[in-house]
């Protein structure tokens, strides 16, 4: 549960390259401790919010007072996690509340049904078989996971998994329609039956399992990837991991991610790091390339994608914390979950390893498929 929850926030950043705004981590993640804060984010957020308040009225042409400028938008995003009191500026009314909603209790994230626990041919599976095609919601800018290659075709670790699912369900790995559903309505797309599964390196979180006022609940498969936080640094950096070598260094992480929580707590207080938050973890890679930050803290899946995009960077030190990714299906579609879990078990005997070796091993080193966890 803890693990799952943690994954949530960070995953946002990861899979979909996403903003804090996305489907969100748990409360703990999103509302960082209010203790001592060495870093700029809170102040920056306050400044941005103030700037936005000033800028918005002056910016518009004669009558454009309410123009949702970028300034306002980033201020709101910055404001949500960093400064809970910051006014939800005009631009991003949708983001802020989602961030701030606390998940009151922890939950059990190991609730996925075992393959043999019941029917594998309920209404959800029948629907797919009758259609003859699996509709999968995927990301399109998650390097190594789900990304358009030079030919414009989606490829990556997640895409391989979708093809295995299609093979298991329909006997044809090509019987798939990929849909790149916007992150802020992907759970809704699942609930409304627009897509059958979401395979976008999505963390198993209580938030997603229980749903929120904005996002309907979904169900998850057993984990198909185990991850945790990693530190990405330039080749010649003297940072050796998430430890004392971060003292005085500026570390970038995505708002609302588990990295954000880790950094604003332990990272600052124990190791003396400065932190810089961005709405999107990929933005952190850009800031690293522009030498505006010294390191990026993000989960290993996304960190691998970053290292692959930028020669001259490496992952430093061991993984911190545990998260896991699962395949999401419509709430209650247990028949489909059983098929998915069976496929994952099957994949664990070979295909998973092949796909891992192809996409992730060069960056993350050797790994084993995660063992099934059923509830």
């Amino acid at each position: 549960m803890t693990a799952g929850g943690r994954g949530g926030g960070m995953r946002e950043a990861t899979a979909v390259g996403n903003s804090a705004a996305g489907s969100g981590g748990t409360a703990r993640r999103t509302a960082p401790p209010r203790g001592r804060r060495r870093t700029a984010p809170a102040r920056t957020a306050a400044w941005l919010a103030a700037a936005a308040l000033v800028a918005v009225p002056t910016a518009g042409c004669a009558a454009s007072q309410q123009a949702p400028t970028t300034g306002a938008r980033s201020a709101a995003q910055a404001g949500a996690p960093g400064a809970p009191g910051a006014p939800g500026a005009a631009g991003a009314p949708a983001e802020a509340p989602r961030q701030g909603t606390p998940a009151e209790e922890d939950c059990d994230t190991t609730v996925s049904p075992a393959p043999g626990s019941g029917s594998q041919n309920g209404p959800a599976v029948t629907k797919i078989k009758e259609r003859g095609e699996l509709i999968a919601g995927v990301a399109q800018n998650s390097y190594l996971w789900s990304h358009r290659n030079a030919e414009g075709e989606l490829a990556g670790f997640d895409i391989d998994l979708v093809e295995q699912l299609a093979d298991a369900l329909l006997g044809d790995p090509g019987a798939v329609e990929f849909r790149t559903v916007p992150i802020d309505r992907r759970q809704q797309a699942l609930a409304e039956g627009e897509v059958d599964v979401l395979v976008q390196a999505m963390p198993i979180t209580c938030r997603a399992l229980q749903g929120t006022p904005e996002e309907p609940a979904v169900d998850f498969s057993s984990p198909y990837f185990e991850t945790g936080q990693r530190v990405l640094v330039p080749e010649h950096s003297d940072i050796t991991g998430f430890n004392r070598t971060l003292k005085g260094k500026t570390v970038c992480t995505a708002y609302g991610s588990s990295g954000y929580e880790l950094l604003s707590g332990e990272g600052q207080e124990k190791y003396g790091a400065w932190m810089r938050g961005r709405p999107n973890a990929l933005d952190c890679l850009m800031l690293l390339q522009l030498s505006r930050v010294d390191a990026v803290l993000t989960d290993s899946g996304l960190a691998a994608g970053m290292a692959a995009q930028e020669e001259g960077t490496r992952l430093a030190g061991p993984q911190v914390g545990d998260d896991s990714y699962g395949v999401a299906v419509k709430d209650g579609a247990d028949d489909l979950l059983r098929v998915v879990n069976a496929t994952l078990e099957e994949a664990g005997e070979g295909p998973w390893q092949q796909s891992y070796d192809r996409w992730l091993k060069p960056w993350l080193g050797p790994a084993q498929p995660p063992s099934p966890r059923y509830g």
């Binding site: 949702p68 800018n141 990304h147 802020d184």
Partner: protein, 476 residues
């Protein structure tokens, strides 16, 4: 009545200063010469109030009348000259500067939209995208250096120019980084372009907009200067008429002749000059007002509309660049599209532009642009539906063209947007010409006055001299 006029204008400060002297304790100290002057001044004063010798009184009357008439001529010439200068500044300096500022603002918003369009086309980025983007950047930087040289004394404008000059290279290098990462098919390219766009929209566009508004305000101030009534000249003219009237009356009391032709001629010249001034000024004023309501104001509205369109286009493109995280951009698109045309709220820029347009040609251009805007919004809604359903390729093709589902999409939002922008640009040109014409008329109305007015006044002085000289001759 009488006394103050005489003291004030006839004898001037000298009289005021020296008259009390004989009455004070300092009398013995006053040198001979000075005493003489005091006496002259005293007699001059006396003549006005009716005590001097008749010829002295006549000479003094001639002097005073000449002085006030010349004063009137001088004030008339300077006030007309000032207004002409202001009108020329308006047409030749301020108006072009505000046009430049608008073009800087527009080309930056355009660069933001074209950079995103080129990015979306990726490896298929056309030569045209590239050229359009670079042309916008070049235009902006060329006009910025020209504006820096020209705005000189305008602090507000200079500050914005400094900001823009500082930010522009950073912006272009981020766009270049985004392009090259995009060519290598790396997702981080999106971050670069979003970062660039963020800088554009949070820092550069507001600076350009402030600069534009500073120029518009300056233009309004100059227009106010140019159309301010020449009160000083009017006051001097009335004073001249009053003085002439007063002396005519005195002359009538002294000679029993009702009219002195010379003085009548002087009064006539003053009256004609005042009428000329009034007529010229009101024509100038009304054509300046026309240039404001029909030219300037409609140019401003159309410029606002064009920029709102470009901002909407930039956001539409960026929503797709953001790949699944474009909700904030989409909201911004809605805002700007709503500013152009929204039945219930918004700035109704299209409607106002159409009402403000000078003639049918202008109205038709705006109406055409409005039709294209409606098409654009419909196509945009379709593209957004497709994107929301996860059909990114279809949304992309609907927005920038290309193939979706094996078919080439012809009706793209790009086409509707470009058509709308072209119509608005033509409308801006049209209204700009109207403005120039009106501003020229305003200047023409006053031409001749700075020379003609003083000449008439001198003729008036000559008339007074002749008329009084005749009376004076009677004493010889």
């Amino acid at each position: 009545m009488v006394t103050p006029t005489g003291t004030g204008d006839a004898s001037g400060p000298d009289a005021a200063e020296h008259v009390p002297a004989p009455m004070g304790a300092a009398v013995p100290v006053v040198p001979e010469q000075r005493r003489g002057r005091v006496r002259t001044a005293a007699s001059a004063l006396g003549s006005v109030v009716g005590t001097g010798s008749p010829p002295a009184r006549l000479r003094l009357a001639g002097l005073v009348i000449s002085l006030v008439t010349v004063l009137f001529g001088a004030l008339l010439a300077t006030s007309v000259y000032e207004r002409q200068t202001a009108a020329r500044d308006l047409a030749e300096q301020s108006a072009p500067l505000s046009v430049d500022a608008a073009e800087i603002y527009r080309s930056l918003a355009d660069a933001n939209a074209t950079a995103a369009a080129g990015f979306l086309r990726g490896s298929k980025e056309s030569h045209a995208d590239r050229v359009a983007y670079q042309a916008n950047i070049r235009t902006a930087s060329r006009l910025l250096s020209r504006a820096a040289a020209r705005t000189g004394d305008s602090f507000a404008a200079q500050r914005q120019i400094t900001i823009l000059n500082k930010e522009l290279p950073g912006y272009t290098s981020l766009v270049e980084a985004a392009r090259s990462a995009n060519r290598e098919n790396k997702p981080v390219a999106n971050s670069y372009l979003r970062y660039a766009s963020e800088q554009m929209r949070s820092t550069m566009l507001p600076a350009a907009e402030d600069m534009y508004h500073a120029e518009i305000r300056r233009m309004a101030a100059i227009r106010a200067d140019a159309s301010e009534p020449p009160w000083a000249a009017y006051a001097a003219g009335l004073l001249a008429l009053a003085v002439i009237g007063f002396f005519s009356y005195r002359l009538y009391l002294a000679t029993n002749r009702i009219l002195n032709l010379g003085l009548v001629a002087t009064a006539g010249m003053v009256l004609v000059s005042m009428a000329w001034l009034t007529a010229g000024h009101s024509v100038a004023r009304s054509s300046l007002a026309d240039s404001d309501t029909h030219g300037s104001a409609s140019v401003q509205l159309l410029t606002q509309s064009r920029i709102a369109g470009l901002k909407a286009r930039g956001n539409e493109n960026m929503a797709l660049v953001a790949q699944g995280e474009g909700a904030a951009y989409s909201r911004e698109f809605d805002y700007w599209a709503g500013a152009l045309d929204d039945r219930d709220a918004g700035q109704r820029l299209m409607q106002r532009s159409e009402l403000q347009a000078e003639d049918e040609v202008g109205q038709e251009l705006v109406a055409d642009a409005w039709v294209e805007l409606k098409d654009w919004k419909e196509l945009h809604d379709e593209a957004r539906r497709q994107d929301d359903l996860g059909d990114y390729d279809a949304a992309l093709a609907r927005t920038i063209g290309g193939k979706a589902g094996g078919k080439t999409v012809e009706d793209t939002t790009e086409r509707s947007f470009a058509a709308m922008d072209r119509k608005l640009a033509a409308a801006v040109d049209h209204e700009q010409k109207q403005f120039q014409e009106q501003a020229e008329n305003g200047r023409g109305a006053l031409s001749g006055l700075p020379v003609g007015g003083p000449v008439l006044c001198l003729l008036g002085v000559a008339g007074a001299a002749l008329g009084l000289g005749k009376r004076l001759a009677e004493y010889r």
